[in-house]
Structure formats: structure tokens, C-alpha cells
């Protein structure tokens, strides 16, 4: 695991926007962190990097929001999922193995059905504004992306 400390929201957004420029079709980004850590904020900035023009709002209500960017963005919030079976009803496979980028909030809740490879991002609250962002890439491709994000 490699981590970076940011002292405010702007620095977090810069990293996320950079990630939005690096990702490719079929990529899966897993986001974890407490309520209020900045998962949605991170994905909003990632969407800007992807060229999404629409507002990226919290998908807590609809569970999945889709956006058009350079490549499609599928924004998941699985906080309310109680059982993996419920993901099947959402047709998650079409998204996970589709052409867009999947960004999944609370991915730790659905670990059993995640694809084999993904970029795991954990945001830890270290202060009112400051955060620690940690990356785990499961293969060389994702590890390379993580490496680029750590360069200031």
C-alpha cells in the first residue's frame, strides 16, 4: 500500500482529477472511507478528469448513476446493500465488465463480487480538512497508475 497526505479538499481533488485523465475503458476504482471522508468528492473530481459535464450527485437514492465523459462513468454507492444478491438485481455485471469506468463507494461491502483486478483507494480522516489517501493496485497496470498519482 502506498499513501499520500493531503491538507485540504483542493489537493484531494487534484489527485482525483489526475486519475480521471489516466483511467481507461473497463477500469474499476474501489473507494472506501467513513461517512464524510470525501468519497463522493473524490469521484466528482475524477469525473471532471474524465470530461463529464453534468453534476455528479450522490447516488445513495438510485444506487447507480451513469455519466457520459471521454468514456462512460458508472458511479455506485453500495452503502445500503445488505446482501450480495441485491447487487445481482442491479445487473452489476453489465457495469463491472462493461465499457466504462466503475467508481464504487463502500466497495468493502461487496468484496466477494469485485472483479479480479481493481484500484483500491482508501481515504482516512486525519483532521477537519486533511486526509490520508492510500492506494492498492492488484496488478501492474493499477500499480503504475497508483505510482503516477503519488508523484506531486
Amino acid at each position: 500500500m502506498s499513501c499520500i497526505n493531503v491538507s485540504n479538499q483542493k489537493e484531494l481533488e487534484e489527485i482525483a482529477e489526475k486519475l480521471g485523465k489516466l483511467v481507461n475503458s473497463g477500469d474499476v476504482i474501489c473507494m472506501v472511507g467513513d461517512l464524510g471522508a470525501g468519497k463522493t468528492t473524490f469521484i466528482q473530481a475524477l469525473a471532471i478528469g474524465l470530461g463529464v459535464k453534468d453534476y455528479v450527485t450522490s447516488p445513495t437514492f438510485t444506487l447507480i448513476n451513469e455519466y457520459e465523459g471521454r468514456i462512460p462513468l458508472y458511479h455506485f454507492d453500495v452503502y445500503r446493500i445488505n446482501h450480495i444478491d441485491e447487487m445481482e438485481n442491479l445487473g452489476y455485471e453489465e457495469y463491472f465488465y462493461g465499457d466504462g469506468v466503475c467508481a464504487i463507494e463502500w466497495a468493502d461491502l461487496i468484496k466477494d463480487i469485485l472483479p479480479y483486478d481493481y484500484l483500491w483507494i482508501e481515504i482516512k480522516i486525519t483532521g477537519a480538512e486533511s486526509r490520508q489517501i492510500c492506494f492498492i493496485g492488484t496488478n501492474d497496470y493499477y500499480r503504475e497508475i497508483a505510482g503516477e498519482l503519488l508523484e506531486k
Binding site: L35, Q44, Y55, T62, E66, N82, E86, N89, L90
Partner: protein
């Protein structure tokens, strides 16, 4: 025919299953509600602290036929009396929407009567037309619910200009999340409304996001983080937390910003009427303070009665009726659209 209707009367069966509630309603000529049956799943969801999609769609399937049957019985109407079907086809949970949509399509097909698929958020505004018989556009509407926060200029029937909307969390969603953090249960709005009455709204001042000058958009995620930060800090310092004061301060921050932007928007548009809609329109603090501010500015305020604020099929039927008389029809291949935008008609 059981009830006596005139030949030209339009008898609508409306169905709503976008989120928690399975609801069916019978309306005569759009504004007269003959029945409005709501089978709520809130008890079911309380255990989980929010809407559970799988539970939602399964319960809708179990409920839908009984709810439609009851709507017909209470209205004293048979399938043969129906001349029109209206249904919510978005936005909402796709699995939940599909249950109501399939039932509506089946009935429209079997009875060979027209179908209108409508937008749930627009439906909330039309709840006002049921209550206030003379009300019509133009006006500014603030639609606030668990999934939506929209500031809309409704120029005419079917003609909307979305002036502002949330950029992150919906107002009702912020209520739910903070209620959960305070251990108050689901749905969060009524719980916070209740306990805030015992608290001092000025004891803790939470930040309000006004966004850039002239913007009518909303942002509640910063406020949510500020409340969570406050709770964490107090806990780490071992200090007491007054749940009532936190609830009151949080509610004030949301209500103040909703009202300020609504009034400013009405004045700028030269609209002398504001119409409140959606589940959060049930919030007593929002109603009272908005009434005061509207009176100050000579603006007429309308809001629906409590039972029409939350999700219900009558409002969907009213909207479907107006779309129908404007000549709109939906085809039987109509689909559920989770992120349906206002003004999109199918």
C-alpha cells in the same frame, strides 16, 4: 359501470413505485381524487436505516395487485370504467420502477386505453394542483425530497426551467444521513424535525454553502461533513453532545439556504407565487419560515397537505392527466429510467 360518470370524463388509474411506497390512485379529470392507496415500506426499511433496493422491488411485487385492487374498490370503479393509465417511469430505483411500469402497461394494453409515463419530480409539484383547485402556472417551485432538490420555474403545464439543483446530496438525504449519525432512525426528516424543536438552532452554527454568486444550485455535502466533524471532535474531547442542539443547528442551516435561494429566485423571475413540493415539504420549520419570508415579500405560498407531500400515486395521476390532454402518449415499450431528467417526455 358502477359509478356514474359522464361520457367525456377521464378516469385515470395512476401507479407509483419509484422508491419506498407502492401506491395506486383513481382520479376523475385529473384533479378529483377518488382514491389514493399508499402501502408504505418504511417499517420494513427502518431495520436497515434506509431504502434497500432488493427489499423495495420484492415488496412492490407483493403489494402491487392488492394496492390497485383497493384503489378501484375505494373509488367504486371497475377496470372497465378506466379510460387512461398514468405511471412513474423515472427517476428512481430501476427494479422498483419496473414493477409499477409493468402493471401499468399490462392494464393499458388489456383495456386498450392510453398510457402516460411521467417524471416523479414533476409529479411532486402536481400534488399542489389536487389540493388547490384554482392553482396553475406560472410559479417557482421548490421540490425537496429524499432523492431530489430542485428549484424550478414552471411557466406552463409541461414547460419547466430547472434553475437550480443539488450538486451533491439531496436535502432529504442529508437529513437521513445526519439522523443516522445522531442515532435517530429512519426516515431522518421527521425525526430531526421533532427533536430540533427541543434544541437551540443558534447553539452550534454550521456552515452554509452559498456557492458562487448568482447560483441557485445547492450543496449539502459540506454541511454533512461539518456536522460529522463536530460529532467526532466532541467525542474525542470527551464532551457531551446535545442531540437536540445539533439537530436544530443542522436543520436551520438547510432550511435557511433553501428559503434564501427560493425567495431570491422568485424575486428575480418576478414570480409572485412559490409552490413547495416533495417529502421535505412536510418539515414544519421549512413551512413556517418560508411562509414568513413569502409574506414579507408579498409572495403567495402554496404547499400540499402532509399526505400528498410524500410519494403517492394521486400526484402522478394528476400529472399524467395534464400530459394526456396536451396530447402526449407513451408507447408500450416505455422503459424505466433511473436518472430521468425533468422535461423529458416519452
Amino acid at each position: 359501470m358502477i359509478t356514474n360518470f359522464k361520457q367525456e370524463d377521464i378516469i385515470t388509474l395512476a401507479i407509483e413505485t419509484s422508491c419506498d411506497e407502492t401506491s395506486a390512485s383513481i382520479l376523475k379529470n385529473g384533479r378529483e381524487v377518488l382514491s389514493n392507496i399508499i402501502n408504505s415500506q418504511i417499517e420494513q426499511h427502518k431495520k436497515f436505516g434506509g431504502v434497500v433496493p432488493e427489499v423495495a422491488s420484492r415488496r412492490h411485487i407483493e403489494n402491487i395487485n392488492d394496492v390497485i385492487e383497493e384503489a378501484l374498490t375505494v373509488a367504486d370503479v371497475s377496470f372497465a370504467d378506466l379510460t387512461h393509465v398514468g405511471v412513474t417511469h423515472g427517476p428512481g430505483l430501476v427494479g422498483a420502477l419496473l414493477v409499477g411500469l409493468s402493471a401499468a402497461k399490462a392494464i393499458a394494453f388489456a383495456r386498450e386505453i392510453p398510457l402516460n409515463g411521467v417524471n416523479h419530480i414533476e409529479g411532486h409539484i402536481y400534488a399542489n394542483f389536487i389540493e388547490h383547485k384554482q392553482l396553475g402556472p406560472p410559479f417557482i417551485s421548490l421540490v425537496v425530497s429524499g432523492g431530489h432538490t430542485h428549484l424550478v420555474y414552471m411557466e406552463d403545464y409541461g414547460k419547466y426551467e430547472v434553475l437550480g439543483r443539488t450538486r451533491d446530496d439531496a436535502a432529504g438525504e442529508a437529513f437521513d444521513k445526519i439522523a443516522r449519525a445522531l442515532g435517530l432512525g429512519y426516515p431522518g426528516g421527521p425525526q430531526i424535525d421533532r427533536i430540533a424543536k427541543e434544541g437551540n438552532p443558534d447553539a452550534i452554527v454550521f456552515p452554509k454553502a452559498y456557492l458562487e454568486e448568482g447560483s441557485y444550485d445547492f450543496s449539502f455535502s459540506g454541511l454533512k461533513s461539518a456536522v460529522l466533524n463536530y460529532l467526532n471532535t466532541q467525542k474525542m474531547k470527551g464532551l457531551d453532545i446535545s442531540t437536540a442542539d445539533v439537530a436544530a443547528g443542522f436543520q436551520k442551516a438547510i432550511v435557511d439556504i433553501l428559503i434564501e435561494k427560493t425567495i431570491k429566485c422568485a424575486l428575480e423571475k418576478g414570480a409572485n407565487r412559490v409552490v413547495l413540493a416533495g417529502g421535505v415539504a412536510a418539515n414544519s420549520s421549512l413551512r413556517e419560515q418560508l411562509r414568513t419570508e413569502c409574506e414579507k415579500n408579498n409572495i403567495d405560498l402554496k404547499y400540499p397537505p402532509l399526505h400528498l407531500c410524500t410519494d403517492n400515486a394521486a400526484m402522478i395521476g394528476c400529472l399524467a392527466y395534464y400530459n394526456y390532454i396536451r396530447g402526449l402518449r407513451s408507447s408500450l415499450d416505455l422503459n424505466a429510467i433511473s436518472n430521468l431528467k425533468m422535461g423529458d417526455n416519452y
